[in-house]
Symmetry: D3
Subunit: 143 residues, 6 copies
């Protein structure tokens, strides 16, 4: 087993807000992140797949295919978007770095791991999302 | 003469829109950047001052003072903000990287260059703003 | 389970020296690191906590709280310090990158993992310390 | 147990080609990577060893020794080389990032983990190879 | 006047060889870089244009247009290529970092600076080429 | 004219102290930097030379020679040293980033710019010193 990772970036807006709280409570807990117009980040999405290198190609997974999957399943939905206002899964779930990593996993898990391009079958192993170079969340899926 | 530079980051939202254009024209010219909810970036602000090191302190300018100036004059206004909607100078000026660099220069130029903390007088020499690690604008003031 | 990581930096001095060895032996084993005035690094401390995102906040742990903990428990003691001469745990333990990671873990483990801020309980999962971008040690606690 | 990691870089050429395929098939699967003159990368090799810090030195492993091992076992063979044409293990195995990570592991595993320099015995734990900052493969050995 | 910079990367092979020298002389001067199969790098191309922001768009130059120009004029010719063997300007000129920067300038200077997309006219101001993060050449044209 | 730049790193200790001031005054102006045991940084030294590429080699200056010069003239004196206590020029001059850049220029200016290795004559053009990735000083010599 070997792990292969590809990174991509997307730029998005978000804010933190719990509809069941008062304005004061939101501002107390979320601070500057509670401002309702939103602020933004250059996020980095890091997707790791695990498998055996195909002896014919040397690939665990075709990196061009992985790039396409990442763009189609995640970046097209998140990049240059306001996550709270334009992305369905964040209508009621606060788009923290943790929740973005879980949501990206969910988007990818249905597509990766089913054998593509004639190469060996690889499994989604890890999704890491950086909000800034100093903060990141990592998810390895369910239990 | 020696130049001393300090970097800081801020996270903000913006979009590109010319009120005098139709929706179609805005979308044609600005593409994904024209989405009205905005998207965001981790911006890097890089401020350079030029002067002679004070023989008593070895400083061109006190870096703690410079940090405070950058925070008070620029970051407090831009960080965790939607630039188009919450920052006065971008009410009618599109917050491109170029215009953010010029606006940050304008904010800083009135404060830097007047001799502080008993150290030598230093001049604002350069403002650089990175929108992403791949794109930046640099302004040296004046004409 | 999801992991959330935050980075911070500190600047410190250290040297390598075993009091039970001769000068010659110290210089032979530790080379330039044995110079007794010390030399220094910009260290990066990377702290990872693991848990479930709180459904109310979306946080595994409040990142502002984590920042405060890192500053209070580690950075206040290590930053702008000479580790051998000013930090108790390195009076007799050589402050190698490995030992700094273990010591930072010990400092943090007593504080993280007890449920804070009304958010879900998260556990300290990993401490990584970079001495330079090319060298780092990682500790996950335990035996 | 603690893990200690050291990074190094090497610059090499490679191309992707399966001798049993037609030119068309190679170009279809490998795209620009199939051009036979080769292209190149600044690779980063990241080697992790695991063990207990020696109480006498504070080292899991002597980092100078680790640097020498990495240079002698991997960099001398790969750096400023055309991997397909000058490195034995890639005569028939396509030098994808995955296969380079496995090959570097194989080169290192015979040397690391046998107790050196009077320090504690450390085991090779992980080899990571970056082809670019956006793409990397990680191997932990075994089956 | 403000400067706007965009970065892109390309992966290429090269070697250093002067046809008028003996093998021994080439190896003496160029060392490992003289190996004739070539080795490679992840180069970074950094292109700077200078001008006034168009009051209508806020752009010195349309960054999408600049990206297209960089790809069409430089990256299509250099990326995934062996510079000595496949790029006309390096048939007789050794592809050192210095010469690559000058060649990229020459390729770009004929296209940038003639007013595009209805935006203000910007001039090519600077081309910087990184061979590695530690080595770069910068050219500002002229004589 | 083209500029060629090479980077190198060194790890050193320093503190800020003016012998003519009281302890209180030193602590007030220099804060944590006034602690007398010192603290340290991973400094980056960036040296730029300017000239014409030699038509025979394609080099403005031989990068191996430049590396040797940087090591012999600067790194051997500064790396793994306590700057205040072990480097002559900082016995009475406070080793701020500004003063380190000027001192490195002085060390290099006597050696670079006199024609070496049979290549074209290049001039020392710029010295930049990073104390951290967020703070750097740049010196271009002069009067």
């Amino acid at each position: 087993m070997i792990e292969l990772t590809r990174r991509a970036t997307f730029s998005a807006s978000h804010f933190y807000w719990n509809e069941e709280w008062t304005v004061e409570k939101n501002e107390q807990v979320f601070g500057r992140c509670a401002r309702r117009n939103g602020h933004g980040h250059n996020y980095t999405l890091e997707v790791t797949v695990a498998g055996e290198p195909d002896p014919v190609t040397g690939f665990v997974v075709d990196l061009k295919w992985l790039k396409d999957v990442m763009e189609r399943e995640v970046l097209d939905a998140y990049d240059h978007r306001h996550l709270n206002m334009e992305v369905a899964e964040f209508a009621k779930v606060i788009p923290t770095t943790e929740n973005i990593a879980i949501a990206a996993w969910t988007r990818l898990a249905g597509v990766i791991g089913q054998g593509v391009n004639g190469t060996a079958v690889a499994q989604l192993s890890r999704v890491r999302v950086y909000e800034t170079p100093e903060i990141f969340a990592e998810y390895r899926g369910g239990q």
